[in-house]
């Protein structure tokens, strides 16, 4: 083990600063959401709750709108990510085989759409003529395969030792069983990674919800959140029976932000365990 020197301490210091910069806004929002309404306006930066109070959360959970938007977002995140993974994995697997006829042609197609985006209005026209406007599928189907993730996945598949697949074939494995029983289980680290990319993107879906959804009952969480936080429209939350709760906009805004952030943050530790390497190497040697 090498001895820690000044250089290392410099790095620690930089990392510590980066850490503080990241954590302070989070702490602030969390403290505001947990504080007594009036206290929020008395201090500028709060790092711990003043006069602990759950009123803002009580208010947020009492509103059917936010809970409904939460349901929509969970739906597009879960179903969307499943579909993303299904199409990305199968597509990438096919493209990873050098024997695929027309491989370079398909790769050009993928690389072109990765670099050139059709833009907002053609996208809108496309969704409109597919009859998807005002449907949750408008937030799932467009972009179901992300070209960048597809290439990432393909490169991972290409690095898989061919010997494993050969061995499986010799043991009598069919092509379909090969992908589901061999390739996918040993590719879990990569799948977890792009699954997280897709999932977070779905969770944060804003533009598709804004442009393709005209019925505000189908708004995903982020669109509703924006009206609450930026347009200062607490009435987006009406329906809450809250006459007994004295509430301030700043509290409710903070509580809504926490409400919309916590679930996706919770996902990370569960995927963390898949970010491990070495499975592949072990398989060949063994």
């Amino acid at each position: 083990m090498q001895k820690t020197n000044a250089y290392d301490y410099g790095i620690y210091l930089l990392l510590a600063i980066a850490c503080v910069i990241t954590i302070v806004p989070v702490l602030h929002v969390l403290s505001v959401s947990l504080s007594e309404p009036q206290a929020v306006y008395r201090s500028n930066l709060m790092l711990y709750p003043r006069q602990l109070s759950w009123d803002a959360y009580q208010y947020v959970f009492a509103t059917p709108t936010l809970v409904r938007a939460f349901g929509i977002t969970v739906f597009i995140t879960v179903v969307g990510t499943m579909l993303n993974l299904l199409f990305t994995i199968t597509g990438a697997y096919a493209l990873s085989k050098r024997t695929l006829p027309g491989l370079s042609f398909f790769m050009i197609l993928v690389i072109v759409v990765m670099n050139f985006n059709a833009g907002l209005i053609p996208g809108y026209l496309n969704v409109k003529s597919l009859g998807l406007l005002n449907s949750v599928w408008a937030m799932i189907l467009p972009g179901v395969v992300n070209a960048f993730n597809l290439i990432l996945m393909r490169n991972f598949f290409m690095d898989l030792p061919e010997e494993i697949e050969e061995a499986a074939k010799i043991d009598g494995c069919s092509d379909l069983a090969l992908i589901f029983r061999i390739v996918i289980p040993i590719s879990l680290p990569a799948i977890a990674t792009i699954g997280l990319f897709y999932g977070v993107a779905h969770w944060n879906e804003f533009f598709k919800g804004l442009f393709y959804i005209t019925d505000n009952r189908l708004w995903p969480l982020q669109v509703l959140l924006k009206t609450i936080v930026f347009d200062n429209n607490l009435n987006s939350l009406v329906g809450a029976n809250t006459s007994d709760i004295l509430i301030e906009p700043a509290n409710v805004q903070a509580a809504s932000i926490v409400f919309a952030t916590v679930p996706i943050v919770i996902v990370y530790p569960f995927l963390q365990k898949h970010f491990v390497k070495g499975i592949v190497m072990g398989a060949v040697k063994g």
Partner: protein, 523 residues
């Protein structure tokens, strides 16, 4: 290992199914009917009725419940189908642009005309229908606005009327003060800027809320936009808009780059350094209005109409100060040349423009009570001839989508107690109207007619505005720098970035340099 994976997968499938159950009915159920509706222009349930589609922004504190009971009542009375789209106000222009570019033009479009050049340009692109001939068929709609207002609505290009106005609320910026705090400290209502300064100092030092801590904000401003502080300039003899030069009435100058502005900003810088102004002003994200309502600020520069939110507060006693003076200058309302904040325009492609106009007419005539109050017994009651809405949590939400459906208010409403009895008692409403009348005695008009197309201004305006915003924020916030030096630098930069050309263009294209005048007609 494999077992664990299987277990994980089982759990995820469970979540998928649960989510599908939760959202299934709202998601896929609606999908079929609404997508056909937007394509064919009619829903399956009642195919003979014309469908009127509407797009309008949803502002702060507005709500829209789709397909509410109230909407059904209105649809049945008019034998139409209403289809509202209500994007959040902050993204309204973007959403509308995408829809227009995609060829999806709702029958009734709420635009920001005449105050918004992009939306004004849509008229010359033929997106909207001229209404002159149609209006003759809807005399009640026409009578809801004075000839003067209809004339202001005429497009400067071809003299035609392209929309039905949503008039600007009367009033503008005024000063609210905590009367209970003044009484507690034995002070009287300030009448001049110097007296106001003394009050601010007292609010800072003498713990007016009596909580033992020196934590009150003496002066707060409504929000964090520069426009919220601009009216202050009238106390220094300025005008935050365009006005004719005193030496040459045929030359318009832009008030925001005049020396009076520097004086005002330097004054605010001093107040800030002495701890008399909300430290969040222009740089924070909590609104001064919310702070005042929460009882942490003593004086608020706010919009007069906002006062309804605190006039009947049980936790504090606030009053509106009469316009204060500074030497021979008096606080003025800064008002635009055209008293219209939005316009309801009818799509040139509309299948049924008459039904659309009939709906607009209905909103200010037979449907007035539905649109303004909802349904009697469900959302409001009538006491002594005054319609009094229920408390928000007592309202039946099925009939409570008034702010969502509302597209216009008749002109008489703006000078009637009914404008405020929707929110407060008759006495409070009269108090507020009296104060607004009082403030309207001193007006600093913006002479620029925003419905004229100024091509160069359109191109550079947002950039120029950013230059001012940056410079002026610095003038108020910066502790060490010399505000005057920053002002000169900012104005130079503004002029060089196109400001000079904008001034020339305004003078060239706007031939009418007379003072704007308008008065809202009464009932």
């Amino acid at each position: 290992m494999i077992n664990r994976i299987k277990k994980g997968m089982g759990a995820t499938t469970g979540i998928v199914m649960a989510a599908a159950l939760v959202t299934g009915c709202s998601g896929s159920g609606d999908e079929g009917s609404s997508s056909t509706a937007s394509n064919a222009g009619a829903t399956a349930t009642s195919s003979e009725r014309p469908t009127i589609s509407v797009i309008k922004p949803l502002y702060s504190s507005h709500v829209y419940f789709p397909d509410s009971g109230l909407e059904k009542i209105i649809e049945d009375e008019l034998n139409i189908n209403l289809q509202y789209e209500t994007p959040p106000s902050g993204d309204y222009k973007t959403v509308l642009n995408v829809k227009l570019a995609g060829g999806d033009i709702p029958d009734i479009v709420a635009t920001m005309s005449p105050g918004d050049s992009e939306h004004n340009a849509l008229i010359s692109q033929g997106v909207f229908l001229p209404l002159d001939d149609y209006l003759e068929k809807f005399p009640k709609l026409k009578e809801s606005f004075s000839e003067e207002i209809w004339d202001l609505m005429r497009s400067p290009t071809d003299g035609k009327i392209y929309g039905v106005p949503w008039l600007r609320d009367r009033g503008g910026s005024g000063i609210f003060i905590r009367k209970d705090w003044l009484d507690k400290l034995g002070l009287s209502e300030p009448k001049t800027l110097d007296e106001l300064y003394d009050v601010l100092v007292a609010f800072r030092d003498k713990d007016p809320d009596g909580n033992g801590a020196k934590d009150t904000i003496p002066l707060a401003f409504r929000d964090n936009n520069l426009s919220t502080i601009y009216p202050f300039v009238t106390l220094f003899g300025g005008n935050p808009g365009w006005y004719p030069e005193s030496s040459d009435p045929n030359k318009l100058v832009f008030g925001q780059v005049q020396p009076e502005m520097a004086e005002m900003l330097a004054y605010l810088n001093t107040l800030r350094q002495e701890g008399l102004i909300d430290p969040d002003l222009l740089i924070g994200n909590t609104l001064g209005l919310d702070k005042f309502k929460a009882g942490t600020a003593g004086v608020l520069v706010g919009t007069l109409g906002d006062f309804r939110q605190m006039v009947e507060s049980t936790t504090m006693k606030a009053v509106i100060l009469d316009p204060i003076t500074n030497g021979d200058q008096v606080w003025k309302l800064a008002l635009p040349a055209l008293p219209v904040s939005r316009t309801n325009q009818i799509s040139a492609k509309s299948q049924n423009p008459e039904a659309a106009l009939r709906y607009l007419e209905y909103q200010v005539t037979d449907g007035f009570d539905y649109i303004q109050y909802g349904v009697e017994g469900k959302t409001y009651s009538v006491e002594n001839g005054v319609k009094i809405p229920f408390a928000e949590d007592k309202k039946d939400n099925n009939y409570n989508t008034t702010t969502g459906l509302e597209l216009l208010q008749p002109e008489w409403l703006f000078s009637d107690t009914e404008k405020f009895t929707k929110f407060v008692s008759v006495d409070s409403a009269n108090y507020m109207l009296g104060k607004i009348d009082n403030y309207e005695k001193n007006i600093a008009f913006d002479y620029l007619r925003t419905n004229i197309v100024f091509p160069y201004r359109n191109e550079v305006w947002s950039q120029l505005d950013t230059i001012l915003k940056e410079g002026y924020t610095k003038m108020i916030v910066d502790k060490n720098a010399d505000p005057m030096a920053i002002f000169e630098e900012t104005v130079e930069k503004w002029k060089a970035a196109g400001g000079t050309k904008v001034i020339d263009e305004a003078n060239e294209l706007q031939e009418d340099k007379s003072a704007p005048t308008y008065r809202y007609q009464k009932k």
